[in-house]
């Protein structure tokens, strides 16, 4: 008896799935064609029509498999939203919801059959596209398309497929959730979009506040990386295929969201069909979140124009305006000026005030916190566009992240950190938007050397590795512009003279002797800045290595004052070097260069040039 009922239930569930597929398959076809025509079809055309087709088709296919294909990104987001809205559209109409719920389904059956039919509709175009790519993968594997090394491998294809399936599942689960908690098609779509990115919005909003108001807050790096992880679509578009752990976590998250959607569906009041929001709590949350966004947007606008006090005025006005508008939308009536709305606005004011206080003031003592030297294993210091390093005339070489492990060095870093905090605070207050003063932010060095002024837009990034599990990150990028202040800090001098600093900035470690291809005398422009190779020294590899060792040896012997002795320059060398970059799917090789000043302090280097009869030639040509 029970099995008869069970088979009847299965048959009914199957009927709903079949019906949904029958009704909505054209959607799937349209989205498939949109992806196919902008990717695989172009690859096919390039194979057929172009002599160099092999390379071109590869690019088309790789752009898909890298997860960065614009149409694929668009479809993998829009299709699940459209599919969810389509299959759950009956919830938006009183008669429709009545008919569906009067039919012989339990709510579980109705939800699951609609959920899975929408999922099938969402995944079908992606799976179909994957199948159309497969011949390219196999063709290349057996050298049927080209004899090039295998780039589009089966593993790449498979990991891409799994990743895109995860993206679709995640987006779809959130979209279904949106369809359950809203009762009109427009709201379905809006909230599906909002839910997919609301966590990222709120996170980035908090980051923006903290970055603006919290001294030393590190907004880039780890903080922004975290935002990328908040949606698999963004992660796969920026980083390619997802890793196993990411796949598992996103699938678990999708499952949790789907389960929540189901639980809400079970208690959904069908009479709410046609309401903007079908759950009172969800409606209030939506009002609060949108009001928070409105409060922040207008608050920051006021802040940028008129300063810190205006932030709070703007935030209040923004909150009030947004609250009224969103309440009208959610409640589908302009009659929102009542006690209930006033009560909720009062609640929001408290939430907003807590948010503002937490993000615009240092209630936790974050700004003044410096680590205990004994609790630090190492500290990574990134002198972004470090201005006090004269030998490196330009900073073409990537900035060096130096890791200090020596306790004395760590002590200097912490002392530098402590010194920066009050200075950065003073600097910020002086240059806060709306502040009366409008001093030149680059006031300290005169124009006698334009070189330095170019280097001042930088920052100091500190990343402490503690003995425990936690890290401590800080960035100071305003105060850092005040070069004079930094130069006079004894700990900057001490750090610059440590062997760890000099090792990090040596040519051997920063570029690698083997990568340097040519050394040229560089000509300078009218401002005294090197900008072009004048003649090549034509050195043999052994000689070149010898010269580079001399340069490094001299560099390591420089004092901090020597490093900043602008008047000691003899001539500038251009060092051409090879850069290799191994990307996820392709490797890149190119040539770059840096300009390196030889000063009076480079005694061994000068001696080497003299020993090789180059010195006079260099000096005369430099003049």
């Amino acid at each position: 008896m029970q099995s008869t009922a069970s088979s009847a239930n299965s048959a009914r569930t199957g009927a709903v799935i079949r019906e949904n597929l029958r009704r909505f398959w054209p959607l799937t076809l349209v989205f498939f064609l949109a992806m196919f025509l902008t990717s695989v079809f172009q690859a096919i055309l390039s194979l057929v029509t172009s002599d160099s087709g092999a390379a071109v088709w590869k690019n088309h296919i790789l752009s898909v498999l890298s997860g960065a294909h614009p149409m694929l990104i668009l479809v993998s987001f829009i299709l699940p939203v459209v599919a969810a809205v389509s299959v759950f559209k009956y919830l938006n109409q009183t008669s429709a919801v009545s008919v569906m719920h009067a039919m012989p389904f339990s709510r579980r059956q109705l939800f699951s059959s609609n959920f899975f039919s929408g999922l099938i509709l969402s995944l079908a175009p992606v799976l179909a596209l994957a199948l159309t790519i497969l011949p390219f993968v196999i063709g290349q594997r057996f050298h049927l398309i080209s004899s090039e090394p295998e780039v589009v491998g089966v593993l790449l294809w498979f990991t891409w497929l799994i990743s895109i399936v995860v993206v679709v599942c995640f987006t779809y689960a959130l979209s279904v959730f949106a369809c359950i908690i809203t009762g009109t098609t427009v709201m379905n779509i809006l909230i599906a979009c909002l839910l997919n990115f609301i966590v990222i919005f709120l996170y980035l909003l908090s980051i923006a506040y903290l970055d603006t108001f919290l001294l030393g807050f590190q907004s880039s790096g780890d903080s922004l990386d975290l935002a990328i992880y908040m949606h698999p679509l963004i992660l796969s578009a920026t980083s390619g295929a997802l890793h196993f752990l990411q796949i598992v976590l996103y699938l678990i998250a999708s499952g949790v969201v789907a389960l929540l959607a189901f639980l809400l569906y079970r208690v959904l009041k069908t009479e709410r069909a046609g309401d903007s929001v079908t759950f009172r709590v969800a409606g209030m949350l939506l009002i609060y979140i949108v009001t928070l966004l409105g409060m922040s947007g207008i608050g920051i606008l006021f802040f940028l124009g008129f300063g810190e006090f205006a932030l709070y005025v703007g935030a209040f006005l923004g909150a009030l305006l947004t609250f009224i508008i969103i309440t009208m939308i959610v409640r589908k009536t302009p009659k929102v000026f009542n006690m209930d709305a006033l009560k909720h606005f009062g609640i929001f004011v408290i939430i907003g005030a807590v948010f503002m206080v937490c993000t615009t003031t240092d209630i936790t003592g974050y700004e003044h916190r410096v680590p205990n030297p004994g609790a630090i294993r190492s500290v990574e210091v990134d002198f972004i566009h470090y201005p006090f390093l004269i030998p490196y005339e330009k900073y073409h070489v990537s900035d060096v992240q130096m890791v200090f492990t020596d306790p004395d060095s760590i002590g200097h870093v912490i002392a530098l950190h402590e010194a920066l905090i009050p200075a950065e605070r003073r600097y910020r207050e002086k240059h806060m938007p709306g502040a009366a003063t409008s001093e030149d932010p680059y006031p300290l060095y005169d124009d006698k050397d334009a070189l330095l002024s170019q280097q001042w837009s930088g920052g100091l990034y500190l990343r402490y590795e503690k003995t425990g599990l936690f890290r401590m990150n800080r960035t100071y990028d305003d105060m850092y512009r005040d070069g004079q202040f930094l130069m006079e800090l004894p700990d900057v001098k001490a750090l610059a003279e440590t062997s760890e600093f000099k090792d990090a900035y040596s040519l051997e470690n920063r570029i690698g002797y083997d990568h340097i291809a040519n050394i040229n005398l560089a000509a300078s422009d009218s401002g005294g800045r090197a900008n072009v190779a004048f003649f090549e020294l034509m050195l043999q590899p052994d000689n070149m290595r010898e010269l580079l060792r001399c340069m490094d040896k001299d560099f390591k012997a420089l004092s901090f004052e020597d490093m900043n002795d602008l008047d000691a320059k003899r001539f500038t060398l251009e060092l051409e070097y090879e850069v290799s970059y191994g990307g996820r799917y392709e490797s890149y090789h190119y040539t770059n260069n840096i300009y390196y000043r030889i000063t009076d302090q480079y005694t061994e280097t000068i001696a080497w040039f003299k020993a090789h009869d180059l010195y006079d030639n260099l000096l005369s040509n430099n003049e």
Binding site: N9, S95, A96, S98, A102, P104, F105, S106, T270, E271
Partner: protein
Amino acid sequence: MIVINGLTKTFDDVTALDDFHMTVKKGSIYGLVGTNGAGKTTVLKLLSGIIKADAGILLIDDEIVYENPGIKERLSFIPDDLQFFGGYTLKELSIYFSDVYAGWNSALFHEIVSAFGLDPRRKLSRFSKGMQKQAVFAVSLATMPDFLILDEPIDGLDPLVRKIVWKYIVDASKSRQMTTLVSSHNLREMEGICDSVGIIDGGKMILEKDLDELRSDIHKVQISFGSGEDAVRPADIYDSLHIMHRENRGAIEILIVRNNRETLDRWRDRYRPLLFDPIPLSLEEVFIYELRGEDHAINSIIS
């Protein structure tokens, strides 16, 4: 059999049903009559398992309906608003329903469609409102429900079509004991079709009766003992009757009495009036006198 006891349902701050009671006998046609907003549709939605009651008992053949696909397969609900099916052709709709309902009767479907003269290949949205109702009625009846629940089913239907609709309903009730529950805001529509009628007002059942019982219990009688000195009659002449309404028109008195025919005949034989003429009451009149204290309800449903 449908049994509803002490049912309560609120929507936010509005109480749609309050301690509602109703009993529908198997194989009967039951008319649920009430004004707009009286709670009819809420009752039908509760019966169809669309919404859940806050309190009370609702049983169909001793089973709870809500979240019970087994019992829901035996019932068919036709709402008053049929927009949902607009995108379907009648043929597509029949395929969908035949997939869902195990008891689907294709022959009956085609018979009803043919009787209505509907084109199965046309989209329902292209049909007139009346034709949409006919189409959905055909599909619903073809699922061979044991319980047919109709919300304002004959609004917008012409008399000929109404006749066909009622014919199929009556046939199904007779042939396979299908129980039908029909809601309406107009009492006249129910007369002659329903076996029982319930009047709902303000979320409460204010009267529920079998029509035969109702009609046999209440009578309108014209009585005259003549005029002038000849009109001799005892003062307690009407003591044995349950008079609901009394009206004098010259020598003729018109009485509305709640007594069966045998009692009236005994009274006539005892007092031998010159005129004794029982007149059949319309359903409207029955309710007017039954619900003397419920003026609003009765006036609305007969106007």
